[in-house]
């Protein structure tokens, strides 16, 4: 039986792409192909943008509270279909069902936060900026926006942006990751139930041609991207060249500092989830574990013992604690980094290259730990995006801060300590802009901005929070005088 081919959603209709270029969608837990995805054409992007542009003129006139009501309705539909969305996500991405539920929860929280548009989109006024002259600043939508999300959070990431674009009066085109298109496909089926006006929201599946068509399209006002640093840079540059707004979130190399006064037993579960949650495939994952001083041996002994005991398997099995990597290619990439760590002289104290799993055809790599990693080794510098921990034994807090501030990528950084002074010094000095204190995954909720610094984020407005309302609106200043 032929596998289903994902359809585009344009102007309120499901359309089969005319492209003959078709990609494969895999189940990472079994290594089986489960769907097909079209690599749509620039003409199909143009069609989606055209209808979105046409829909914008009416949509921007819909009162913000009415636009918010669509989101209230959508929240209910998402809640009703919570398990189904979560399971679809597990099937194509591989993370555990709990992790998927966590992701879907985050997605819904953004829908919830967007309903505050009537306050959060509000402008400001000042009387008598000069005698008899008043001034006000209004926030207006701009038109069509585009979204290019990554493979690791196929449900949540588009919704860091999409609900805000919609409630502020913009229209939208999203290109799901071609590796994991099914989740957003299912979400769009649910979206139909709220009966948004045709053209307000559109989805075009594809790969590079779709991305480039979006970046080049003169009627797209801005693009939200999440992915690797090289691609984020590319997106930002191309958006600059074509005069678009851009928020391009890139990669990460997050350090987790453990001070000598940290309570290891209390910290351990959250350290494990920081490094191995989603099999290390998240931009907030710990990558470098930096014990300071003489805590290192005890910490590592306990950390490795717990990492070893993690149960790998299919995310749909409720006893699974860590799922596979997203694809065979990504598995090879991660294995390549493990080889690199060995060849550069780090000590491999936990080897995840041949894990015991029920289905060896799945794309599994087990928990891996390298001890005695030097800051100049490849595994200490580059983003691995897998369950590989590089242990950098540090002599002082300042050494870990210096490390965090010299990676280029400055997404997140965490510290475990009982000392308020150490925690303050750390958060004050580190460049990464998402900081956890005795928290291993410093994930801002929907009402706070999400995004890093340095090479982890290109653009001035982050996702979520109040920032995102500014990204999707322009300030129009009106100065009044009446004779």
């Amino acid at each position: 039986m032929a596998l289903p081919i994902m359809k585009n959603y344009i102007n309120g209709e499901w359309e089969q792409s005319k492209s003959a270029d078709i990609g494969k969608v895999w189940c990472p837990a079994t290594g089986e192909q489960i769907a097909q995805v079209p690599y749509s054409t620039a003409a199909e992007v143009d069609k989606a943008v055209s209808v979105a542009k046409e829909a914008f003129e009416e949509w921007r006139r819909v009162p913000p509270l009415t636009r918010a009501r669509y989101m209230f309705a959508l929240k209910e539909i998402f809640e009703d279909n919570f398990e189904e969305i979560s399971k679809t996500l597990v099937r194509e991405m591989g993370k555990t069902l709990d992790e998927s539920r966590g992701e879907v929860r985050r997605m819904i929280e953004n829908v919830e936060h967007s309903t505050g548009v009537t306050s959060l989109m509000m402008g400001s006024t000042l009387e008598d900026i000069a005698k008899g002259i008043d001034c006000r600043s209004e926030r207006q939508p701009l038109g069509v926006f585009g979204c290019i999300p990554p493979f690791n959070f196929p449900a949540m990431v588009p919704w860091w942006f999409m609900p805000y674009a919609l409630v502020t009066g913009n229209t939208y085109v999203v290109k799901p990751s071609e590796q994991v298109p099914m989740t957003q496909g299912f979400i769009f089926e649910l979206l139909e139930e709220i009966d948004l006006p045709e053209g307000v929201i559109n989805m075009v599946h594809g790969s590079k041609e779709v991305v480039n068509a979006m970046l080049d399209h003169p009627d797209i006002q801005g693009v939200s991207f999440v992915g690797s640093t090289p691609t984020a840079k590319y997106i930002y540059k191309r958006c600059g060249e074509t005069g678009k707004r851009a928020q391009a979130l890139g990669g990460a190399k997050n350090i987790v500092t453990v001070m000598p006064d940290a309570d290891i037993d209390k910290a351990l579960p959250s350290l494990i989830t920081s490094f191995y949650g989603c099999a290390g495939q998240r931009c907030l994952s710990g990558a470098v574990l930096a014990p300071v001083g003489d805590i290192a041996d005890e910490l590592l002994e306990k950390f490795v013992a717990q990492a070893k005991s993690l149960k790998l398997g299919d995310g749909l099995d409720s006893s699974t604690q860590m799922g596979p990597l997203v694809s065979a290619a990504h598995k090879e990439r991660v294995l390549g980094y493990i080889e690199k760590g060995i060849s550069e002289g780090a000590d491999l104290i936990l080897d995840g290259r041949n894990p015991e799993v029920d289905n060896p055809n799945g794309f599994y790599v087990g928990p891996t730990v390298f001890d005695n990693v030097d800051k100049d080794m490849t595994i200490a510098k580059e983003e691995i995006f897998g369950p590989v921990v590089s242990v950098l034994r540090a002599k002082s807090l300042q050494e870990t801060i210096d490390f965090a501030n010299t990676r280029g990528m400055a997404n997140a950084a965490c510290i475990y300590t009982a000392s308020g002074a150490a925690a303050r010094e750390f958060k004050y000095k580190v460049k990464p802009t998402m900081v956890g204190v005795n928290i291993g995954i410093a994930a801002p909720m929907s009402f706070f901005p999400f995004g890093g610094s340095g090479e982890s984020m290109f653009g001035t407005h982050k996702g979520q929070g109040h920032d995102v309302f500014h990204f999707f609106t322009d300030a129009k200043v009106v100065i009044n005088r009446w004779f």
């Binding site: 069902l97 966590g102 985050r106 579960p269 989830t273 409720s318 006893s319």
Partner: protein, 143 residues
């Protein structure tokens, strides 16, 4: 089998509530329990409500920040023979129901400790442990 993560613990709790509701519904059908039908119906309804509360907790309290591995909860410690309340004597049924309440109370109490990082859910488990303990006392009045 170990319950190794948040979802696994919640799944087990939901199943436990639904199973206990089924036992109560079967007990209702037993002629020897005809004078206690109202109480049994109420208890079964409460089990179903608990299952809904737990489903909602699973849906609303999972966040990636706190998906920490769980240790030391073994399903074997909370197994209870199902039995067939339609063919039991009244005293057997009451004993069986009391054992189910004991089992549930113990599970919720012990799981609440392990779910401390997800404090909202730990709180729900503590409340359910208390509720199930009180139900056991009420069942004692039937015998």
């Amino acid at each position: 089998m170990s319950l190794k993560n948040f979802g696994g613990v919640l799944d087990f709790a939901i199943e436990l509530e639904n199973e206990d509701a089924s036992v109560l519904e079967l007990a209702e059908k037993n002629q020897e329990m005809s004078s206690y039908q109202e109480q049994l119906t109420r208890l079964a309804k409460e089990n179903k409500k608990n299952a809904k509360t737990l489903t909602r907790a699973r849906q609303e309290n999972v966040t990636e920040m706190i998906l920490e591995p769980i240790q030391g909860l073994e399903v074997e410690n909370y197994q209870e023979a199902k039995g067939d309340p339609t063919s039991m004597r009244k005293d057997e049924i009451v004993d069986h129901l009391k054992r189910l309440e004991d089992r549930a109370e113990r599970f919720y109490r012990e799981a609440a400790i392990r779910l401390q990082p997800v404090s909202d859910v730990a709180g729900i488990f503590q409340r359910l442990a208390k509720k199930r303990g009180e139900r056991r006392k009420k069942l004692s009045t039937l015998s």
